[in-house]
């Protein structure tokens, strides 16, 4: 094959990695349509959107950089409380600006704690991330003068979005707001993972030794993605506060971090849509089971986790092969048809 067509093939292949495929477009069109077509379900859809954004943030570090975190709720909770406090004390009353501020605050926290996850093994990271989330929860608990303690943050009042859209009690504005934020942040995340930076993250996850030998400053990249992911989680937490006008200690709860792992396991990691799909399935499942046994829902979650692990994540993926084949079209990581053989 001549040089020109090889370069052409290369550019084509690389461009194909980030091309929007039909299923993706369909996904977002369906999502958009729910704003108008499912008005009665906007409350649970808002929860799904927030959970999806939160899961997306974990996917950035777990699926793309290989960092196992058992305390990602730390950033979610931090963003939630910052947003709440900004509203309560009237520091920033416009919700979108407050959202940005909360996200930045969470990013700062992420940056400061990122150095903790650089050292040590997977087990160390698990314990350190768990520890950080617990520290924050404890701080929030003990400083009730600021956070309201165990009763939660009282008196959160959310002003109209952009000064125009009032948050109604049916949750219509809230849902449209969350969906829009989710979409924009998703686009940004999509850009990031398809960039050279994103590619270097995947290489670090795959083989950190080789990554360093290629000249990648591994620690710096990990700090960067951890910081970004913390910001995303903080935004999700802030959305929760803004749409429910309340923030309580359970934003830091271990359950939240654990459930999040389950969401990503169900949906799959490393292709960005896993968090969103997992969030949908998880919430629907939770809704259904909670209606049956409101108090003992953690039991079934636990059972599900045990079963998934015992059966093996790979085997589950093979059972759902037909669906996977379909979703692989969503996953631009799947191998393409090979370049035709070079003629002698």
């Amino acid at each position: 094959m001549n040089a020109r067509s090889l370069i052409g093939a290369i550019r084509d292949r690389l461009a194909a990695r980030s091309r929007w495929n039909v299923l993706e477009i369909a996904f977002w069109l369906v999502a958009l349509s729910t704003v108008y077509l499912l008005p009665g379900r906007h409350l649970i859809l808002t929860e799904i959107a927030i959970l999806g954004l939160f899961a997306l943030s974990l996917d950035l570090i777990l699926g793309y950089a290989g960092i196992i975190s058992l305390g990602h709720a730390a950033f979610f909770g931090f963003g939630a409380y910052v947003a709440g406090l900004l509203a309560v004390h009237g520091i920033i009353t416009e919700p979108l600006l407050a959202l940005l501020a909360s996200g930045l605050a969470a990013m700062l926290l992420g940056f400061v704690t990122s150095f903790l996850v650089l050292r040590g093994s997977d087990l160390t990271r698990i314990m350190v991330t768990l520890g950080v989330a617990l520290v924050l929860r404890e701080l929030a608990n003990r400083n009730a003068w600021l956070t309201g303690g165990a009763d939660g943050l009282q008196g959160v009042e959310i002003k109209p979005l952009l000064g125009l859209f009032r948050f109604d009690m049916f949750g219509h504005t809230a849902y449209a707001y969350c969906l829009a934020v989710l979409f924009v942040m998703f686009l940004l995340a999509r850009r990031i993972v398809n960039s050279p930076f994103g590619l270097s993250l995947q290489s670090i996850k795959g083989n950190p030794l080789r990554a360093a030998a290629v000249g990648i400053p591994v620690n710096r990249r990990l700090v960067a993605v951890y910081t970004i992911a913390a910001g995303y989680a903080g935004v999700a937490g802030a959305l929760l506060t803004q749409t429910t006008a309340f923030a309580s200690l359970d934003v830091f709860a271990f359950d939240r971090s654990a459930d999040l792992l389950l969401v990503l396991i169900i949906g799959g990691t490393g292709y960005l849509y896993g968090g969103l799909i997992g969030a949908i399935l998880f919430k629907l499942m939770q809704d259904y089971i909670s209606a049956l046994t409101p108090q003992y829902w953690p039991f079934w979650i636990g059972l599900l986790l045990v079963v998934i692990v015992m059966v093996g994540r790979e085997r589950i993926t093979s059972w759902t092969a037909p669906i996977r084949a379909l979703t692989a079209r969503l996953d631009w990581r799947a191998p393409r048809t090979p370049v035709p053989e070079a003629r002698p």
């Binding site: 196992i68 997977d122 698990i126 520890g131 950080v132 520290v135 404890e138 953690p298 599900l304 045990v306």
Partner: protein
Amino acid sequence: MLTILFDGIAYGMLLFVLACGLAVTLGLMNFVNLAHGAFAMAGGYCLVVLVNRLGFPFFAALPLAFLFSAVLGFVLERTLYVHVYRKPHLDQVLFTIGLVFMSVAGVDYVMGSGQVFARLPSWLEGQINVFGVGLGRYRLLIIVICGLLTIGLQLILSRTRFGSRLRASVDDARVARGLGINVSGVFALTFAFGSGLAGLGGALGVEILGLDPTFPLKYMIYFLIVVTVGGTSSITGPFLASLLLGIGDVAGKYYVPTLGAFVIYTIMIVVLIWRPQGLFARGVAR
């Protein structure tokens, strides 16, 4: 101040008995069992049922609590855990979290969600006067029992054949197998024993730590801290770490109540930054 020290030591030794099974499991199979607290909880509830409902004497119920958790540990290890050893760490974490959730919800269903108390024999209540210092009788008992257990453990490890097989397996499982040591058998027994100790600790701890269905979740981090700070390659490491944490927690909550448990979390994070393999572990982290 001495009372604080005394309480802290009692608390620390209790933590040690609770956590040492986890330390050995982690060191032996590089497997972090977040559900370790569930076995402690099982022992605690066993004691409560035996003493409160069935009228068993306190001291007869203690070894039964140990046995209950040990058997439970053995059964679960042979049926479930053994399939998970080879899996990636993330899967192991998810698995044990799943077990925790199941145990918490399960106990909530069977025993109710309120805190339970054990009826102590009357001579264990109150204080005795030692050199003018009032020492809680129950805490004194804990120190005695846990102290004896610690010495016993150290003797088993260093003087018995099982102990040397265990130490060899922790040091290097592959080589140990090559020497003909039945590593998985050693592990099953150790897991059972560690779970039993957790159960005993849970039973002893009903009075001091409080017992309700959320126990495994509440105390998970404490066990992890003991193991993290103490390392997994000896008994003395977790022992010293438990004492450090016990005293630190009690003193912290007394002197600086607004920070409370913050103190020990901070200790853990600081230690992990400085020495990822633990304060007292020797050699390279796995």
